[in-house]
């Protein structure tokens, strides 16, 4: 079926089987920032924003994206003009292997839209679905707080 989506601000029509995994579909279309870490809804590496809400792509089927606005890390910023969150993640040392980073950024972005100046507890709560094995999370939480401060 045809699925009408707005991806990173641009309208697109995707050909997909309605029941296929949104994760596999999105990756097949080239949005490879959406990572496959478990395909079971447990790791958060495939986090995308659906109408601004952080969700796991592997727990959505293609048909659910019809008419929705999808944001992936590709849509957050450019090399010349990175999103403040991307900049803050780099500056704070929140990127180690970087595999969880796109998902972390999107979950953080959703938080900052809703709560522009969160405290550390709010950041931890917003990111509790995104697993990272490299950082111990400390610098990730600091990065989100740093971005919030810079964006204020």
């Amino acid at each position: 079926m045809d699925i009408h989506v707005t991806v990173n601000g641009r309208p697109e029509v995707w050909q997909a089987a309605p029941g296929e995994s949104a994760l596999e579909l999105i990756r097949r279309l080239g949005y490879t920032s959406v990572k496959r870490g478990c395909s079971q809804g447990d790791c958060g590496a495939c986090t995308i924003l659906v109408d601004g809400q952080a969700m796991r792509a592997c727990l959505l089927v293609a048909a659910q994206l019809e008419g929705r606005a999808v944001t992936t890390a590709e849509g957050l910023g450019s090399l010349d003009r990175p999103h403040p969150l991307q900049r803050a993640f780099v500056d704070a040392g929140a990127v180690q292997c970087g595999f969880c980073t796109p998902g972390m950024l999107l979950a953080s972005q959703a938080l900052l839209v809703e709560t522009p100046r969160p405290d550390a507890t709010a950041v931890r709560e917003a990111l509790d679905g995104n697993l990272c094995r490299c950082t111990g999370y400390k610098k990730i939480v600091e990065a989100v707080l740093l971005a919030a401060e810079r964006m204020a």
């Binding site: 079926m1 089987a17 309605p18 029941g19 958060g44 089927v61 048909a63 659910q64 019809e66």
Partner: protein
């Protein structure tokens, strides 16, 4: 992935959803949040019915209580100011206890109540509040109490092509409190044991007590012996402890990869007592 789904339909309102369900019968699968459906791999399913666009997404005051549509996502319930005041916030706390943030962003109340697992958190809160469930089927609307809805698996309670459209919970009259306690190994884990307590007090004595337990058996259940012990009595710490012990005695839990029966049984007493204690601590006169 649902490998053989050929189409997806998007009903605009609940009656249309019901008629589509009627039309497609067993070949149809309902998508709400979709978190369970996405991993189902059911080869029989040919038609997807995405009910998330049929409305039913309001949290609204109703007759001194609240009505919550089936499509309201759990994260919204968890952070809703009005629901935080309903029976001490027992439903908000249960919604907040489900999974992680992106899971709560996706999962709907209706999905969580119908597509239940042993460890589902929100049904426990519904039992404790004495909530009612609004259903709509081919034969029209009807309302069932939470006790009835969870006496069997909800799928057996729902008639063919019947949908859960909303939940209603009345606010208590007078001095009342409630609390939901989840006990799990880590912050984002399925429960070892859940308890929700709702208590109402008049003249220093308990006049209404509901204590519901989750994660211990296939379905959540009411600890009726414990409730009986509390009703008509002053809610002293000792009595709350006795009630929790009765819940433990009645629970007959299952063991799983998380923990064994013996430990789970013991935790039922802990969560039951803590839920009762917290409910007593937040007893409030309703303005």
């Amino acid at each position: 992935m649902i490998p053989n789904a050929k189409t997806c339909l998007y009903p605009k309102d609940p009656p249309q959803a019901v008629s589509l369900l009627q039309e497609h019968g067993k070949r149809a699968l309902i998508l709400a949040g979709g978190t369970t459906a996405a991993l189902s791999h059911d080869p029989e399913v040919e038609v997807l019915i995405d009910i998330s666009r049929m409305g039913c997404d309001a949290i609204e005051p109703q007759g001194g209580g609240w009505r919550v549509g089936c499509n309201v996502r759990l994260q919204r319930i968890a952070s809703h100011a009005g629901l935080a005041g309903l029976w001490g916030g027992v439903l908000s706390q249960a919604a907040a206890a489900v999974g992680s943030r992106p899971i709560r962003n996706a999962v709907t109340l209706g999905g969580n109540l119908v597509q239940i697992f042993r460890w589902s958190d929100t049904p426990v809160a519904l039992l404790a509040m004495g909530a009612r469930l609004e259903l709509l089927g081919p034969r029209g609307p009807r309302s069932v109490g939470a006790d009835e809805f969870y006496a069997r698996h909800p799928r057996q309670v729902l008639e063919p092509a019947e949908l859960l459209v909303a939940v209603q919970a009345a606010s208590p009259v007078g001095k009342a409190g409630g609390a939901f306690i989840k006990y799990a190994r880590t912050a984002v884990d399925l429960a070892v044991a859940d308890a929700a307590a709702c208590l109402r007090v008049e003249g220093g004595r308990c006049v209404e007590a509901r204590l519901a337990i989750g994660a211990t058996r296939a379905l959540p259940w009411r600890a009726s012996e414990a409730e009986a012990l509390l009703t008509g009595q002053a809610l002293t710490p000792a009595r709350l402890g006795e009630a929790a012990a009765l819940a433990r005695k009645a629970c007959k839990p299952v063991g799983d990869a998380r923990t064994d029966k013996a430990y789970r049984e013991r935790m039922v007493e802990v969560v039951a007592r803590r839920a009762l204690e917290r409910a007593v601590a937040n007893l409030q006169e309703r303005a």
